[in-house]
Structures are given as structure tokens and as C-alpha cells.
Symmetry: C2
Subunit: 769 residues, 2 copies
Amino acid sequence: MRRIVTLLYILFILSACADKINLNTRMVNTPEELEVAIKNAEAGDNIVLANGIWKDVRIKFIGEGTEDQPITIKAETPGKVVIEGVSDLKFGGKYLVVDGLHFRNGYSPSEAVLEFRIDEKTIGNHCTITNSIIEDFNKMHRDDTDLWVQFWGRHNTLSNSYIAGKTNRGPTIRVDLEGNESINNYHQILNNHFGPRPPKGGASGETIQIGNSFSSMSPSYTMVANNLFEACNGEVEIISSKTNFNEFRNNVFYKSEGSLVTRHGNYCTIDGNYFIGDGKNENIGGIRIINTGHWVTNNYFFNIKGKNFRSALAVMNGIPKSPLNRYNQVTDVVVAYNTYINCDSPWQFGVGQNLNQEDVLPPSEIRSARPIRTIIANNVIYNEKGDASPIIEHDKADGVTFKSNVINNQGVDFKAYEGLEAVNFGIEEIGKNILIPSSKIDIEPYQGFEFENISTDLVGNPRTDNNSIGAFTNTDFKDPNILDRSKYGPSWYSAEAEEKEPKTLIVSKAEILQSKIDEAENGDIISLEVGNYEIQKSLLINKRLTIQSADKSKVVLNYSGGENSPLFELQPKGFLNLKNVTLKGNNSQYAFASLNENMFTHFGLTVADCDISDFNYVLKVYKESFAERITFENTSISNCDNGLELSEETNDLGDYNTEYLTIHNCRFSNVKSNVIDYYRGGYDESTIGGNLLVTNSTFTNCGAQEKNGILINSHGIVNVDISNNTFKSNPVKLVALLWGAKNNSHSDNQINNSGEIRVEENLEMKLLY
Amino acid sequence: MRRIVTLLYILFILSACADKINLNTRMVNTPEELEVAIKNAEAGDNIVLANGIWKDVRIKFIGEGTEDQPITIKAETPGKVVIEGVSDLKFGGKYLVVDGLHFRNGYSPSEAVLEFRIDEKTIGNHCTITNSIIEDFNKMHRDDTDLWVQFWGRHNTLSNSYIAGKTNRGPTIRVDLEGNESINNYHQILNNHFGPRPPKGGASGETIQIGNSFSSMSPSYTMVANNLFEACNGEVEIISSKTNFNEFRNNVFYKSEGSLVTRHGNYCTIDGNYFIGDGKNENIGGIRIINTGHWVTNNYFFNIKGKNFRSALAVMNGIPKSPLNRYNQVTDVVVAYNTYINCDSPWQFGVGQNLNQEDVLPPSEIRSARPIRTIIANNVIYNEKGDASPIIEHDKADGVTFKSNVINNQGVDFKAYEGLEAVNFGIEEIGKNILIPSSKIDIEPYQGFEFENISTDLVGNPRTDNNSIGAFTNTDFKDPNILDRSKYGPSWYSAEAEEKEPKTLIVSKAEILQSKIDEAENGDIISLEVGNYEIQKSLLINKRLTIQSADKSKVVLNYSGGENSPLFELQPKGFLNLKNVTLKGNNSQYAFASLNENMFTHFGLTVADCDISDFNYVLKVYKESFAERITFENTSISNCDNGLELSEETNDLGDYNTEYLTIHNCRFSNVKSNVIDYYRGGYDESTIGGNLLVTNSTFTNCGAQEKNGILINSHGIVNVDISNNTFKSNPVKLVALLWGAKNNSHSDNQINNSGEIRVEENLEMKLLY
């Protein structure tokens, strides 16, 4: 695409040099001038936005360019034209290009920031967004759904752009196919850098979604190629392919928590992609397969530790005669010439099998249809440490044929499969994250039906001569430098994070505390001198900040603010790390709270070595607020009406308020209710959050006013571990009610006069779909 | 295709003439020789089957021809090579041609008569069956499923063949797509004559089925073009398209009871077909639309009187989030440039809407999803007699857009629709069944999205200049002679029925009756002289025959045959027309019965002006027997333990034993049970049989031993009419229990001391799917 764009420039310059250089190029300074320029633009025209901040601008880019002479809106200097405020841009017509814009500090007033149509009748075709940025352009409320780029029509392109920071509901990019105008679309999503998308805390946080179940029968032919997906952690699906004939080629999925999922639709090609994990994080996955006829070839998986839905290759069970929006059976899938290095149990079949839930789910939710006519051939597995179960069968893999696969399992035993041979081959690191067999593995590749169409390997070497199994046909090539970020996103922007030395700001008086907080920059430290701080108004935190003292017994923050006001107000982008201080309230306020409104992006909270007492709530997380992590360590919490409350997501759409809630080595005493109240409603089999860890802590005389009689409430939370705690004289019926079918566990707790921990295998949940 | 075949012949002859005429052509006389010849055949070889009857031959045609040099098996003289007995033919390999064979008097021992694969590994590609006949090649039992031509692989062809008479379970032709080897198949079904397929009496009687719901996501690209479908009455779907991208072009559907149905799968093209009804038969339908993205263009509908599921254009409601095997919503369908002449309510929307069955059916059976994004444009309706409802909305057509359609409704009022204009245009008959507007209708055709792709009209005129609405752009062309049967099927065979004058054979003695029956030919008449005929053995009927006398009071057949033996044994192809005779038994036998076994094709029975008494059963129709019509008229039935029993299809798969059971002007007295017992089990919303008509008849003292207390049993029969009868002193609870939701009715009956007729709206039925 870059080449095409370059070519178009050259063509433009050539034609411009000829006789109409000024006619063709029009500099505009205001939205009104832009509107006029668009109205008058003809094929070949170039509209240049003057450098500066364009605020609250709604661009309807309607025009008729031609293949040779597109109409272009471009920045005077790429990156110096910033779109802020309540802004969006929509295309209608054809051969229109937008080049070099930067969207930040704002949000779209419509359903999309960039959209390839004006309305149902005025659709963009052959239009391009390139060399641009969309960053943190979130709606004010998490539940307010939008998209950042919404594809309609045909032959549209998003290329060389950097897109990061979406936290509100809705996929970052979505291709829509409703209507014959938008099928057979051949859209291209190329050379982009998809930067961090933090966990959304529930569904609808995909980075790319192509179609939906209602258009899953439509031919799409969308191409997603040569993109870098970095920390795209929004939800379990990084890419959710829901239509037919899509292609995913040569992308890099780097430390992204999720998978590329063929959720609906059929006959996709997933070829030559890199899936790079960190060797620890179990949320980082690979490819999850549902439906018919996909070809998964030439992919490279490194250090993927995801399990089950998130395993390197997860082949699901379907629902017999599935409803349109659920799980069709896997049939006719080919997985060939892939390489798996240091992945845990990389091949999992029958994922999602849930026959043990027949009593609590309707038949139309039981995934009992095993994959059929599926071929796994010519793949290579290498494990530095042997893996006792490289293949996991959640249901019998009797419809799967294995041919000419090898594994170096370091001699560790595993269940034998015909077609998976243990071979002792060496491995060589040819670049960061890239390990390949150090010599050719002497196994004849299996020639399945139409395997001759897999004509090259991951790096483009032909498979005609000297073919071999695995993603790479030979060892004689250079590091592909997959993380060279100059290959992705805009040419004028580097997404490499700058390293900055934190400053420490000393504070000794309450009066200047807020102004020092305001003065501090991201990552700085506020150091509190010894003393009592009488705080009368909430401290507002909207950046990454550490506030600490040397001795909590001598640094006390006495809060005398209004009823139900928080001592620390955690605003969007407010990440507070509080260490070694004492917080005291008058029993009517909150120690920490998120905003009740307009919590347009994430916050975070770590409290360590603190004493907290005499508040109404220790922590109140309001609806639509989300923190990736909330941690309390080595902290005592006492004499509060309520403890940690994260239970306002009661619309039961699968949302929750924090990904990780960690309580370690804390002491709770005389907290009357909501001691820990962490809620997720709505059943969705594929999401694996949130996470509650309660360890090495003591709970005494807590829960006296807890209406449901449960001390630690974790309804619907998927991962819960309650271990090594002491529960003493808490007047409750249950310490906790755990969900056995999910990853809930408890161990080594001492429980005296506090009820018990109960585990129920299946909780009754409202179905999401 | 003909041209290609001709070309191949020329190529063959040219190469044969060169130097290897004898090497290339090998005459074979026995199956063993054929097997050897196939084994040794090379590209370009020609294997010639010697004329004669080849019995019990199983041909595995395995070979590797080339595009230029196929391997051919052909008849010495086309049509003189007859395959009989237990025989089949399977292809494996490529570029193989079978030419000029005639399959009759037998059946396949396998799942198909002709199959384009040997087994899962040995598949035929680029293979052709041409210039051949398959006729009455039925399995011995109706429930024994098979296919007559089963497609696998890719690029296979069935052309110029005549195929008729299938009565057992299973589509006549089926295209299978399971496995990547059989998708994108581009099979061709061209220039065939599909002759009569009688009603099967239940599901699975399609003439062509392409795929099934489990492969409904697969791209198929099967072409069905230039075929004649004549009296293809097997079931409600003549063609059941169940995969994607199929094309149906320029076919003629002539007096065929059923429709072309896009049952599953999407994006089919239905262009330039003729649907010809007889102006009376409501079973003759048009096109029924389900699913997404079909284009219905340039079709011509004449005299179609089908209603609801069988209307000329039936656009169905779907089931929201339908299960895979049920009804997806209709979306993105285009119906443009079609012509409807003298069709009753040709456009019906929301067909299958069944919200009133919410109490008796599960939600996954309720068709409440109306068509959306559907365009009906540039169509012409002409009604010789005005139609009060040219459009019927079974559910609101609010997702349907009408543009530039016209109707000549002879001034008769109808509900107004924007986009359907009443215009008074003339009509002209340019050939049999072909009526077109006599002058151009002055309406600008609507130009919808991609309408420019509808580049020609029904007869191939370009739509670029002088375009007009309707199937024909101008009136200046010749009769297309769509029923010229020389255009379809084998060149050596004429499917035109011969007219033959019936002979009358006089019989005066019981002893010669069977031999005269044997001597008679199809359509002949046996005339019984006055006298008493003592019949000791069943009379076997296996042809179309009339047996009659001049005076029933003087012609009495006294049957003394064994217990439970029938006086008339109705064998396959036995169609008995009995007139004006008296039948008497000894109370232990049957008057009429089908075969208990091997009823491999239909029978029929008409009894008029007869007296029947003293039998155990008057009529016993055994399981898997089927008659299109069974009629009793002006006949008295008395003193029998049982009456008419057609109730053995108890596996509840939707089967039944006769399409039309008609009782008119008859007198039943002292028939103890099964007076009329006609059963169909299993619920299938789209089938519209059977048909029970009971009129002007008298029932006296009947039903005394009927266990369920119902005199006339019609469980599951869709069309029932009980009118103008007299029921007197029948010791039953009910005369009949009718199904209100279906087409069951009663009127003007006199009921004395015989219970009542009850109508229940919804009967509890076992779901078929």
C-alpha cells in the first residue's frame, strides 16, 4: 500500500508540476474553509489542513476521485494537524484519501471516529486513511459504544496508522457487511501499529471485528496484513473474524492478551503470522478456530502460555445445529506448516466442550460437536522444557488427522499420536523471539488436498524445492525484525516509549499537596514529610503518581471533606501508588473513589503499608470505571462501614470493574459490609476475567451488616483464589461462595466462628447471548 | 456442454484417424471385459459397450483422462445398451465420460445409481454423464434411501439425459460438498429432461438437492441450466438449493408440483427460468426464498396458482438466530425484471410466519424475522382476471422496497403499495404458455445497486439500450418453444408419450380372469360378462387396467381365497379402475391390498359404482406403499370388520400412503373399525399433503369397535374436507378430529347419534427437524 500511496504522490506531483499546481492544492485553515474545499474538490485535488489544533470538527468527506486522481485531505505537516474535541470524519464517494492526521483529546459524537460512509445511501468506496493516529479518543462513558474506524462499502483501506488506547465499549475497528454494497469488500488493513488497548473488563473490546453473526454468511474478503498488534488486551478476541474468505497474513501479535478467532464465517486464511508471548502471561493466546474450511499455515508461535480458549491452537467444539450466533462445528480445517516454540500444550481440541453443564444450560448451549475432517500436518513443536501434554483433548480428537508433525519434547513422555513424531532436533535463535530448527528436519511433508497452494514459507521462500515441515523451510535467513516499529504505523511517529527519570517532590503541608500533585508529571513521586495533614477537599489524581512517606505512624492524612466525597478522587489516567501513610476519615466519606461520571479511561490503585480507618467506604468504584489492577498490600483496614466495593456493573452484560483485585497480607477488622464486593454478571463462556486474589490476610469482626451473609463476594468472577487467610469471629454465614466450574479455589484458610467457604459447581447465570 | 462433448468427439476422431484407431477403441461384451478395459484405459481411449442388456453390473470407472483426451465409456448404439438388475456406476479419477446408457428395470445396490466417486479417497473430477437415461430405477422399498446421480468432487457434468420415475426416498440428484475436495465444485447440470417424479408422500423427494444444512456455509457454484422439469411432483421442493453461489438459469419448470427453493445457503442466481402452471393445480409453485443475497431476475411465471409456500414468489420469514437446519432470515435479496401472468397472489411475504403457534412450538421454531433489505423492482404482473390481493403479507413487508413495478389488474382494486403501479397494458400470446405485454410499458426501470449486472433479458436481449421492466425487453421475438423436448435429454430418445387405443378383453369365466389380466396391456379394459365369479386366488394387478361390467347386480365376484389375502393384489405399477361390480368375501380377507413387501413404485385405485361386503378389510395399504390417488365413488361398503386403512407410516417422518384419498357419494354401513384411517406423523411446516375428501356419503352403524372412538381418522393430514355427509347412529365419540391450523374443514353434515366433529387449532406433532 505504501508503494501505491507513494506512486499516487508522484503522479500528483507530476500532474501538479504540469500546469495547475495552485488549482489542485488548496490550504484550509478552518472547518468552514474545509467544507467549502471539499464541496469544490475535483478528482486530483489536494486539500491541505493547516498545522494546528482543529477542535470540534466534523468532516464529511464527499467526493468523486478516480483511481489515478484521488481527492486527498492531508496535513500541512504530517502529525502537526491535531483533531481534538467532539470530532469525527466520514467518507462518501470514491477514491478519497486522508493522510497524516492525529486524533487525540476528544471523542466522536457519532458511532465512529472514522467511518467509510456518510449514511446508508452515501457510501465510501476505494477510500483510504493512511499515515494517521487515533489515540485515547474515548467516549466519556465506558458503556457508550463506538468504533474508531468503521468500514462500509468496498475496497477501502486503513494503512500505516497508529491506533491505541481505546477503553470504551466497541471494537476499535469494525468491518460492517449489512447490505449488498458492503459484501465482497476486499478492504485492506495494512502496515498499522495497533498499540495498547487495555482490558475492557467484559465483552466488546476487540481490536478488529469483521462482520457479525448476522452477516456471517456474507463473502467479505477483508485483508489484514503486515500489522503489529502490541498489548491489544481489550478482550479475549484480538481479531474476531465473523465473515467468509478473510485473510490474515504476516501480522505480528506481540504480547497481546487474546487470540485471533474465526468466531463466525468460514474459509479464512491465516498465514505467516507471528504470535509472541512472554512465557508467563496466560492471557496471551494464539489462534482459536470455529467453523469451516479455514487454512492456518506458516504461522510462528513463541512462548505462548495461554490455556484452553487461549491456547496457541484452540480448535473448538461446536453446538449441534447451532443457533446462528453461537458455535458451529469445526469442519474441513487445515493446520499446516506452523512452528510452535516453548508453548504450553499448544494444540487443544474440543475446546469449550461443556457436557457437564447439561443440567444448567439449554441444549442450544451445549458444545458437543467435535471437529471433523480436520488435518494437522507438517507442523513443528519445540519445547525447551518437555511438555507432558502437547495435545489436550477436551473432547475426543477423533475427527482430526495428524500427518508428518514432529515434536522435540526433550525426551519427556506424552500420549502418542500417529502423525506426531518425537524427534531430537536442535534450535537456533536467529533474532529476538525467533527460534528455528538449526537444521532441516528429515520428515517428508504430507501432501494433502490443495497443499500445493501453500507455495511459500513464512518468510516467502518457495516450498517447491527443498520443502520442509514447519513455518520456515530453511535456516539461512536474517532476523525478520518483527518488532522494528518503523515498519508499522505513520512514518512521522515513533511509538517507542520514552524513558524518563522520575522526580521527587517534597510536601510538608496539606495546603500545597494538591498543587504539587498538579505540578508533578507522570511517574513522579510525592514524598510526604512527617506530620498530620488535615485534608478538607478531595485530592484529584489524573496521572501516574506515587505518594509515600518514610513512616506511616508519623504521617497521617485526616480527611474532613464532605459526606461521600473521596479523600483520593481517581480520575481517568489517574494511577495512584500510595505507600506508608495513615488515612483517617470521619466515617462518612470514602478513602478512594473513581469518578461517578465521565470515567472515559482507566485508573489504577496500589495501596501498600498503609493504615486506613473510619471511612464509609474504603474504595468505591463507580459504574463504567475500570482499573486494570487494584492492589492492597500490608495494609490494615478498620472501623469502616464498607470495604472495597466494585459491584455496580449490574446490567449483566459481562462487564466488571477491575481485571485484577489483589489483597495480600492485609488486616480487615470491623468492616461492616461490602468487605470485598466484586461483581460480574452475565455468562459468557469465553471471557476469563476478573481475577480476585485474597492471600495471607486476616478478617476479624467483619461483615456484621452484610445482607446476604457472605463476607467476600465474588459473584461471576472467573478466577478467584482465597488462600492462607485467617477468618475470625465474622458474623456471616459464608466466608465466600465459589464457582467450581470456573477457576475458583481456596486453600489453607483458618476459619473460626465465621461460617465456611462453599463451592458450587455451576452458578445460575444470565446468558449473554 | 453439447458443444464441448461434440468437440471432444471430433478431437477423438481426429486423433483416432491418425494412427491408432484400434488401439483407442475397445468393444467389450461382458462386465469382466469392461473391468479389464477400464483397468487398461489410457487418456483418449474409448470403451464401447456392446448392445444388449447388461444385468447386475457394477462399474467402477477409474481412470485418468485429460481435458483434450478423456476416457469414454459409450454405448455401441446409444440407447441399445441397457443396464438392468442390481447395478450402479461410479467414477474415480478425471476426464471420464459415460455416454448413451439406459438404466431401467433394476436398482442400485449402493447409495447411488451414478456417483462421482468410488470412495472418500477416490473422487471423480471433470467427469461427465451424458446422453443417458435413468428410468424407474427404484429400490424395492420406499424408505430405502438412495440417489440416482450423486455429485462429489469438482467440475462434473450431467447433461442431455432423461431421468424419470423415482418414487423411493431420496433426491433424484444430489450434490454433496462434505470435504474440501467437493467445494467450489462448478458442477454442471445441463440440457436434461427431468421427467415425472410422482409425489413421494412425504419429505425427501426433491429432483435436485445441492448440499445440505450442514454444508450450507460452503461455496458451491453449481450450475443448473437449460433443463426441462416436467411433472416433478416428488415433494414441495423441486430444487432445494442448500449451498452458496449456485446458479439456476433458463430452466423450464412445467406443471411441476413444487418450487425452486433456496432452502439453505446464500447468494444464488435464479435467472431466466420459466415456471408454467396449468391455471388450476395449487401444488404447482414458483420460487421460494430463504436466506441472504439471492438475485431473482428475468423469470417468467405463467398460470401459477400455488398459495403460501407455493406461491409464484414466496419470501419467507426466518427464525431469529435460527438453528443451522431451520430458517434464516431473508436479507439483501433482489427480485427484478420478472413477469407474472395470471398467477394468483404472486408475491407473498413473511411466508411461514407462525406466531400463533408460540404456545405449541419452541422459540427455535417460531418464524418471526421478517425479510429485510429486500428489493422488488422492475417486475410486471398481468392478470386476465383482476386479483384482489396480488401481494399477501403473512407478516409485514416493512423490510421490502418496491420500485418501478406495474400490474394490469383489469381495474380491480388492491391494497396500494408505493412502487407497484396499476397500468393498463395489453398482452399478446407469442407461443404456447408465453404471453408478453403487447407494447413497451412506459415506466423507467429502477437502477438499484449492481442492477447493471442484469445485462440481458430472458431471451438474451441486451438491457443496455431500450431497456424495459419485466422479463422481456421487447415484443419482437419468436416463440421460444420451451416445450420442444428435442432440446432436452438424449438425442436418441423421445419422451413424448405414445397415444394408444385401448383394447377391450371380454371375460366370462373366473378361471381365465387372471390370464386375461396378464394378457392385457397398459390401459386396456377387461369387460366381465354377467355371472357369478368364484375367485379362489388373489388377482394380481401390475399395470394400468380397467375392470368393469354392465350391471353390478348381475356380476358378482365371490372371493374364497385365504385369510388376509386380497381379492385384488395391487402391485407396483398396478393402477386398477374397477367399475360396476359386486365384491363379496367371507369376512376374513381383504378386498384390495398393496404388496406387503417390495412395493418399489406406485399403485393406484379407483372404485366406482360397486357393492363391497363381507371383508375383513376393504382396503389395506401396507407400509412403504404409495398411491397418488385412491378414489371410491358411488359405492356401497357394508358388513366389514375394517374399512380403508392407510395408517402404517408410524415412524413419524412425515410420510403417508396416498396423496389424494377421495370418498364421494358412498354408503358405509356396519363397518366396525378403521372406517377411514389415513395417517401422517411428524410435523413439517412446508409439506402440504395428504388430501382427504369425504363428500355426499352416508355412514350408518359404523365404528362400533374403533378404539379411539373416532369414526374418520385423519391424524396429520393437511388438507381435509368433510362435507354434505350423513352420519347416523354411529357409536363413536367423534365423527372426526380436525386440525384447525391446517387446511381442515367441514360443512353441511347431518350428524345424528354419532358424536360430533371437533376442530383443534394446534395438534401436538412430533417435530421432524
